[in-house]
């Protein structure tokens, strides 16, 4: 199976030849890849080098925490890539963004109001958890819509707090 992995905006073609070999370009590489203790923790021995990483799925790809650095890797197989090419566009950058509580906590303040324009990086909600006040920021510019919480509310993890359109 052939895959295209994209990280740091670089594309690498990786072909899974069999359980113990991958091909990159015309290099056939011996790999030994195992999950440790049934955890999202993996050991890879590649060409004799021993690596270990946490691998977590994330929206649109994978997070790989390797040697203290976090890499975001987008992986798609050739069929997916062809389909996407045929559709003629990258995944749209627009669409609604739902701000979800990253952890359970107490809403301290909501310094925006519905209909307000925000820039990327603007604070949308301040949430207290573990005795710390955490600023939840907008990942992009847009307009605030549907604020579902108010100061004093206790929220659960992943509860939607508001949206940016």
């Amino acid at each position: 199976m052939k895959y295209i992995a994209t990280t740091d905006e670089k594309e690498i073609g990786i072909e899974i030849v069999d359980e113990h070999h991958v091909r990159i370009g015309d290099r056939l590489i011996a790999v030994d890849f195992v999950a440790l203790s049934d955890q999202p923790l993996y050991s890879l021995i590649v060409d004799g080098k021993s690596y270990e990483a946490y691998i977590y799925p994330e929206e649109g790809g994978w997070q790989v925490l390797l040697m203290g650095r976090l890499y975001h890797v987008h992986v798609e197989d050739e069929r997916e890539k062809r389909l996407r090419a045929a559709a003629g566009s990258k995944v749209a950058e627009t669409g609604e963004f739902h701000l979800k509580a990253p952890m359970p906590g107490l809403v301290v303040s909501v310094p925006v109001s519905e209909g307000q324009s925000v820039e990327k990086g603007d604070v949308l909600v301040i949430l207290e958890s573990m005795k710390m006040q955490n600023e939840l920021k907008s990942p992009r510019a847009g307009t605030v819509s549907r604020i579902r919480v108010k100061p004093g509310d206790s929220v659960e993890q992943r509860q939607t707090l508001l949206s940016v359109v």
């Binding site: 899974i16 650095r69 952890m103 301290v108």
Partner: protein
């Protein structure tokens, strides 16, 4: 003389104190909130009593209930640890009234040092240099503070008078932004300490935060155990501490003078038990009294590693009325120790707290490595308490050896189920400025960028790509075998969860 000690705390420090008691042959009593039934301090103690629901105010801050439990179970002493009730004079007073030994200073010393404004005034009188700020005693209103601020000059700091650990602290660059910041500082202080009172202090730029550990017995003996360098902070929270300070280095004269001043500050309030005098040290090696922490510090282990003195055991001996086991001449320093605070927070997502169940963990062990922790596989990290889940402490013959050892220990440490700031510490150990010892209290915020940290390997992105591809391939392959096509439209997350369950 007491033989049973109640530990009025949770987390790693409760475990640390339990160990000291046990090693002294004392019986131990844990108290716990509903969220902590399975916590290590409950498991390790001889006795354990429920305090109440998870929030601190309903559990670990319930001094009345704790004293009642101590009386009922016959505990002759209470160790408060740090945080919670550790610096509450009313609690120390209540212990005394109940005939229970409070393992710490007298209420009067807590009061004198606990109100940071009073403390500054007191030590200044005995000739200890202090940072310019609001010298006046008493609760100042917002109006008074706003009036005083321009006299001190900007930038300045708002600090909680009951404070510690950066809670309720705000930096102010101008008078305009001050009212808002006063409000949020008071709110945070109120939440953390039950006291919203604040004071002002001039911000010394490029300052190092260096503190001196002292020990004082009931017989008038006071000694110091050298310094700890605590300048590596983020949002006024210490992250890495070391002893000795690379800034003081071989300047034995400065070390000695700071030690003597620290002893004098402690004597100014007739201090008894373990305490810490925090100083700000500017580029020209002028040092200013900042505050005294009238309790055991989070970072006490680095001092233990270089002096060989068990500070917690010494605290208990002092509380039992013994003379200090050491004179100032007995105290010697060997090698170098570093502590990294391991927090449940995601360094790649603005250090957001991370909660959840720890599903797996592998501790770094071996020569020169000490881990003080309270978590284990299966334990749930809740949002109710502070995010410190472990302290990783290493000792080396030299600072260089200690850094190399810390690097390998961080690399070995595995925790799955929550995110931690271990990668932050790894980057710090690779940072040339940290290695050179050239950092001040603003280093992390002003000069450090986690996205552009030094020391990453060139091949790593490709390895990450290969690993992600293999993981994606495995997922697809296994899913194809076990899940019917009709179910294919569930989300990735659910898929992985199901696949993992099948793996068990």
């Amino acid at each position: 003389m007491f033989n049973k000690v109640l530990i009025a705390n949770r987390g790693e420090i409760a475990v640390r104190i339990l160990r000291a008691c046990r090693e002294l042959g004392l019986e131990t009593v844990a108290v716990y909130s509903e969220a902590d039934r399975q916590a290590l301090h409950v498991r390790y103690a001889d006795e354990a009593y429920l305090l109440g629901p998870a929030p601190s105010r309903e559990s670990y801050l319930r001094g009345d209930k704790i004293i009642e439990i101590a009386k009922k179970c016959g505990a002759g002493a209470i160790h408060p640890g740090y945080g919670f009730l550790a610096e509450r004079e009313d609690f120390a007073e209540a212990c005394a009234e109940a005939g229970i030994v409070f393992i710490g200073p007298k209420p009067s010393a807590i009061a004198a040092m606990g109100d940071k404004a009073v403390a500054r005034a007191t030590v200044a009188k005995s000739g200890v240099p202090v940072v310019p700020g609001t010298e006046d005693v008493g609760d100042l209103s917002d109006e008074e503070l706003l009036a005083l601020a321009p006299k001190i000059g900007f930038p300045l700091l708002i600090k909680a008078t009951a404070g510690g650990g950066g809670k309720g602290m705000r930096e102010v660059r101008s008078l305009e932004e001050m009212p808002t910041l006063l409000q949020s500082a008071r709110r945070e202080a109120e939440a953390a300490f039950g006291d919203g009172n604040v004071y002002l202090e001039k911000l010394i730029e490029g300052a190092r935060h260096i503190e001196i550990q002292i020990l004082a017995d009931q017989h008038g003996n006071v000694i110091h155990l050298g310094e700890r360098e605590c300048s590596l902070q983020r949002r006024h929270q210490k992250l890495i501490e070391e002893s000795p300070s690379p800034f003081i280095g071989t300047d034995e004269d400065l070390r000695q003078r700071m030690g003597e001043v620290a002893v004098r500050a402690a004597q100014a309030v007739e201090y008894v038990n373990a305490g810490t005098i925090e100083f700000l040290v500017d580029k020209d090696k002028n040092f200013y009294f900042l505050e005294m922490n009238t309790r055991l510090q989070v970072e006490h282990p680095v001092t233990e590693m270089v002096t060989g003195i068990d500070i917690v055991k010494e605290q208990i001996r002092i509380a039992r009325g013994r003379q200090l086991s050491y004179t100032q001449e007995d105290v010697s320093f060997k090698g170098h120790a570093i502590e990294c605070r391991i927090n449940a927070e995601d360094p790649f997502n603005n250090f957001m707290p991370s909660t959840g169940r720890i599903t797996h963990s592998v501790l770094p062990t071996g020569p020169g490595v000490r881990v003080d922790t309270s978590v284990y596989p299966g334990f749930e990290i809740t949002p109710y308490y502070d995010p410190l889940i472990a302290k990783l402490i290493v000792w080396g013959e030299t600072r260089g050896q200690a850094i190399l050892r810390m690097r390998r220990a961080l690399e070995e440490y595995r925790i799955v189920g929550i995110r931690t700031n271990i990668p932050f510490h790894q980057m710090m150990m690779d940072s040339t400025r940290f290695i050179a010892g050239q950092y001040d209290t603003r280093f992390v915020e002003e000069r450090f960028d986690i996205e552009k940290a030094e020391g990453g390997s060139d091949e790593a992105p490709q390895i990450a790509a290969i690993m992600a591809t293999l993981a994606a391939h495995q997922q697809t392959q296994r899913a194809a075998h076990v899940v019917r096509r009709a179910e294919r439209d569930t989300s990735n997350w659910k898929w992985l969860g199901r696949w993992e369950r099948l793996q068990r």
